[in-house]
């Protein structure tokens, strides 16, 4: 079971994403519609994955990635983008997002994307541990 933080300024979207994840998985979900709250949340809690909208008031997704990266270089960030804005999604990936998913998407697609991101995170952690073990020998 993973702990997932969802950031989206659209309440409906936030509610739906949380519902889909809670309905279909055992993951724990925390949500916020205020991107400015995210850093505080990441500081106080351990999250295995952040799912974020790209276009939000106060702080957009790309800025958010940069800020999260300053605090935690490992946490995967999955970006959700509006229809027809792949370029900005690609920029987000260049800036350190793990991947992006474009609306419209099927409920199953977001679940697959979450699984993949968590798997990637797990492998990355294992790799780091192996490297650390190797270096300490």
């Amino acid at each position: 079971m993973a702990h997932i933080l969802i950031v989206d300024d659209e309440l409906d979207m936030l509610a739906l994403l949380a519902m889909i994840i809670r309905e279909k998985t055992n993951h724990q979900v925390t949500t916020t519609s205020n991107p400015l709250e995210v850093l505080e949340l990441v500081k106080t809690e351990d999250y295995d994955l952040v799912i974020s909208d790209l276009k939000m008031p106060g702080m957009d997704g790309v800025e958010l990635i940069a800020e999260i990266r300053k605090m935690d270089s490992n946490i995967p960030i999955l970006i959700i983008t509006a229809y027809g804005s792949i370029e900005s999604a690609e920029e987000a990936v260049r800036k350190g997002a793990y991947d992006y998913i474009t609306k419209p998407f099927r409920k199953e697609q977001i679940l697959i994307a979450i699984d993949r991101a968590l798997e990637w995170q797990k492998m990355k952690t294992q790799l780091r541990q192996l490297q650390e073990t190797a270096e300490s020998k």
Binding site: E10, M13, A15, L16, A82
Partner: protein, 860 residues
């Protein structure tokens, strides 16, 4: 970004000029064919986009406004292209379609912009006159409070609304709208957003309130104070925001101002403050980034009796974190409500069961050190919470149960779980301050629908899903149009082909299954509109399913089972929480102008007219139908002989000339052979023509046949007439072949490409040299054969008009082969068709010999 409105405007004024000088004939053919192809392509674009949009409305997808706008843009442009090309093809014959287009376009524009009309109402409206239907006049919060007071009959504070119309008049009075120009804002610049937000708010604070509005507020307040005087409490009011779009698209909750405990003299000042809070940086961000209009920002205000609360709180009629738990959650704090939601103090929490006793399951009473209380003069301030400090519960058990009861009454009234604000006055009277739908509801996980079920006989497990869902009922086979008349309630419609005419029974059908058809076809679209679970292209339904047989159609996993499987039917019923979201409603709204199909009877000229097109689907369907007719004329026109025809050298008793529109012939020499033909339909037809032995003498094994022939006056058919040239206008996918056979003219037109929706064969036969009864017999013979190979045939006297549509390319080729054989078979048949029995014999003979059953139509 180019706005959709710009595109609409551009399109509105761009009509096609069709009066161009006449170029050489071949170029005309090419141009017309080019138009036809572009029309087909636009037609497919509309159908595909429409199917995509309808799929999104199924509830399985998450989408946004960009998607809705972008797909609408595609449909609008494609439909406009269709109209343009059709008018080019027909020399402007269907210009009436432009008017239909503009009307529908404007309706879509309206649905997209979704501008809230501000109804003209009095400036102030007492709560006694308010219900939830008045959102556009008084805003969501006020409307719900009125509903609770007047229809649910629960206690709410006295009060009145300052209407949306009052807001409009206020904004108009100092021409505030002209001052507020948000379009220049750079939404990425947070500082800039703050700056403009402050500027707008300052403007509003300084603006004058129209005198008649001021008077209305003061009179309404006077009335209010009379109503509340008997309570003996304070006579101040709270001034609350009630924006028209509050809680609609985005997170505005908590953004707008509420002023507590306002003295009468300050009412208009606080009114300004609440109105100004509409223009927060966040709201401006949405206005500019998500395509709202400034005019969409409308603020009504509620002036509500101030309840000097002993305790306040929020409650949920269902546990928002566990909807499966049948419980009501009540939070309570000492003093005024804002502390219950602001997290300043830890509230009391009570969990109440929904059982008949309203059993209190849990109580959590933390210590509360401070509370918010009405200040003696105005406003509210923090004071010590004496009872809270001692850890006393805010509510007694009977009060908890009363509140729980209220929560349930509200949930029942609104039909969905509610998030409720309440307050308890110093005399222990409860008041409901707000009730709205409860958000973020974790529904109990539904069992996923099993992909296959053991213990049930699986009848069909293939096809393409056109509308998701599960339906069960008795099989009702449709073999001809008239069968629809007796369609039983709840039956499963099973047919070989799809037809938009099935719409007449879609309110009765529990599912639809067809052997052929595509999810992007017209009928599929209708099935989605009526939400009838539908599987198409099953290939074998007509053979595998029996009339009256009870079946369950699982159009989620593409399975059809024997018997009625309640488990599946139940699992197929999906609740769709997304359907309540505004973006879903916008898509649904625009689809109303795009998808419904009203023009379903092309043969009825009264009902099949451009003026009657009410949706883009109607225009598309109409244009596709008449475009085929326009193209059909291409081969029969007087220009065909001048079109640069090349002679086809072929061992057939026909003088064939070919006009290539592009891609139909390998090289451009004076003479060509069948090996040079690249046209898919032409090759299919030629293959059929060459495979059959052209008819010799009539059969000898029919009783009395020869003797009757001997006694029949045979109409002379000169060799000259037989050898009149036949013209084929072709391209790679298209063929329009006018074959002269003796005295009759037969035209076969076909399109055989990769997109199943484009494909068709049309067969027209007219004339002949025999007597009327013989010609009639010949047409009967051909009609019966064509119907056996799935053509829909209309026969008027000796004119036959048959067509078959939407088959995959391979099947169209096979059918063309059969049509070719039929052509040769019936050559000069008139002379032998001396009675009806002979016709029956010929039909059987032909089918037996030449009809290769298309057992396995390919997929699209």
């Amino acid at each position: 970004m180019r706005s959709l409105l710009d595109i609409f405007k551009k399109i509105k004024f761009k009509r096609t000029e069709t009066s161009t000088p006449s170029p050489p004939e071949r170029t005309i053919f090419k141009e017309r064919y080019d138009c036809f192809q572009k029309l087909l392509s636009a037609n497919n674009s509309v159908l595909e986009t429409m199917a995509d949009m309808e799929e999104k409305i199924s509830g399985d997808y998450i989408f946004d406004m960009s998607y809705v706008r972008s797909t609408c843009e595609t449909v609008v442009e494609s439909v406009h292209n269709i109209i343009e090309h059709l008018n080019k093809l027909s020399n402007g014959k269907y210009s009436a379609l432009y008017d239909a287009f503009e009307k529908i376009n404007s309706d879509i524009e309206g649905a997209l912009a979704k501008k809230a009309e501000i109804p003209v109402t009095p400036f102030t409206i007492p709560f006694e006159q308010v219900t939830k239907d008045m959102v556009n006049s008084v805003g969501g919060k006020n409307a719900n409070l009125g509903e609770v007071k007047n229809r649910v009959n629960l206690p709410v504070p006295e009060g009145f609304c300052i209407s949306a119309y009052a807001f409009k008049k206020f904004m108009d009075y100092d021409k505030l709208r002209d001052e507020i120009t948000l379009s220049s804002v750079d939404i990425g610049d947070v500082e800039g957003l703050n700056r403009i937000s402050k500027k707008v708010r300052d403007l509003i604070m300084k603006a004058h309130i129209p005198p008649d509005l001021e008077r209305s507020i003061s009179n309404a307040y006077l009335e209010l104070s009379k109503k509340i005087a008997h309570r003996g409490g304070i006579l101040n009011a709270s001034v609350r925001s009630s924006a028209i779009h509050e809680d609609a698209h985005f997170t505005f909750a908590g953004q707008y101002k509420t002023a507590l405990n306002v003295v009468p003299e300050n009412l208009t000042k606080k009114y300004r403050e609440v109105v100004a809070s509409l223009f927060t940086p966040r709201a401006i961000f949405y206005c500019e980034s998500k395509g709202f209009q400034e005019e969409d920002m409308v603020m009504a205000v509620g002036v509500v009796e101030m309840i000097d609360a002993k305790a306040s709180g929020v409650m949920y009629s269902r546990d928002p974190t566990d909807a499966g738990r049948d419980a009501i959650i009540i939070n309570a704090v000492w003093g005024l409500g804002p502390y219950a939601v602001e997290g300043k103090v830890s509230p009391n929490t009570y969990v109440v069961s929904k059982d008949s006793d309203r059993t209190i399951l849990e109580k959590n009473i933390p210590v509360q050190g401070v509370m918010l209380k009405c200040s003696p003069e105005e406003g509210a301030g923090e004071v010590e919470a004496l009872e809270g400090k001692e850890g006393k519960p805010c509510l007694a058990d009977d009060q908890i149960k009363t509140l729980a009861e209220y929560a349930l009454v509200l949930e029942q009234h609104y039909g969905k779980p509610q998030d409720i604000e309440w307050s308890l006055d110093q005399n222990d009277n409860f008041f409901i301050l707000q009730s709205r739908p409860l958000r973020i509801l974790a529904e109990k996980s539904k069992k996923p629908i099993p992909t296959s079920l053991r213990g049930y006989k699986l009848l069909i497990d293939k096809g393409q899903i056109a509308c998701k869902g599960v339906g069960a009922g008795k099989v009702y086979l449709i073999t001809k149009e008239e069968d629809l008349e007796n369609f039983p309630e709840g039956a499963v419609l099973v047919a070989k082909h799809t037809s938009p005419k099935f719409v007449t029974v879609m309110n009765k059908a529990s599912a639809i299954v067809a052997d052929v058809g595509s999810p992007t076809g017209h009928m599929a679209s209708l099935a989605r509109e009526y939400n009838v679970p539908t599987i198409l292209n099953t290939e074998v339904a007509m053979k595998s399913l029996e009339a009256g047989q009870e079946i369950t159609v699982d159009a989620i996993n593409r399975n059809i089972y024997e018997g009625r499987i309640e488990e599946l039917v139940e699992a197929g019923k999906t609740e769709n929480p997304f359907k309540d979201t505004p973006v879903f409603k916008v898509l649904k709204g625009v689809l109303q102008n795009i998808v419904p199909l009203n023009l379903i009877y092309p043969e009825d000229e009264e009902k099949f007219r451009p003026e009657l097109c009410e949706t883009f689907h109607d225009i598309t369907r109409f244009a596709h139908e008449v475009a085929m007719n326009e193209m059909f004329k291409i081969g029969g026109g007087p220009d065909v002989k001048k079109g640069g025809a090349i002679k086809l050298v072929v061992k057939l008793p026909l003088d064939i000339h070919v006009i290539d529109l592009g891609g139909g012939v390998k090289n451009d020499s004076d003479k060509i052979t069948p090996d040079h033909i690249l046209s898919i339909p032409m090759n299919a037809l030629l293959k059929g023509l060459m495979e059959i032995e052209w008819p010799g003498p009539p059969p000898v094994n029919v009783k009395g046949f020869l003797s009757v022939v001997a006694n029949t006056t045979i109409q002379p058919h000169s060799e000259k007439a037989l050898w009149e040239p036949s013209f084929a206008v072709i391209s790679k996918e298209y063929m329009n072949f006018s074959i002269r056979l003796g005295y009759h003219l037969q035209t076969v037109e076909a399109y055989a490409g990769d997109n199943l929706n484009d494909n068709y064969i049309r067969f027209l036969l007219k004339g002949g040299g025999a007597s009327i009864d013989r010609r009639a017999r010949r047409t009967r013979l051909i009609k019966e054969v064509l119907e056996k190979i799935d053509f829909h045939v209309d026969r008027t006297g000796d004119v036959l008009d048959g067509r078959v549509t939407k088959y995959d390319r391979a099947t169209i080729e096979k059918k063309l082969g059969t049509v070719a054989k039929l052509t040769a078979f019936t050559k000069q048949l008139d002379m032998t068709l001396f009675n009806d029995a002979v016709v029956d014999w010929y039909v059987q003979e032909f089918i037996k010999k030449h009809y290769v059953e298309e057992k396995k139509p390919g997929r699209c």
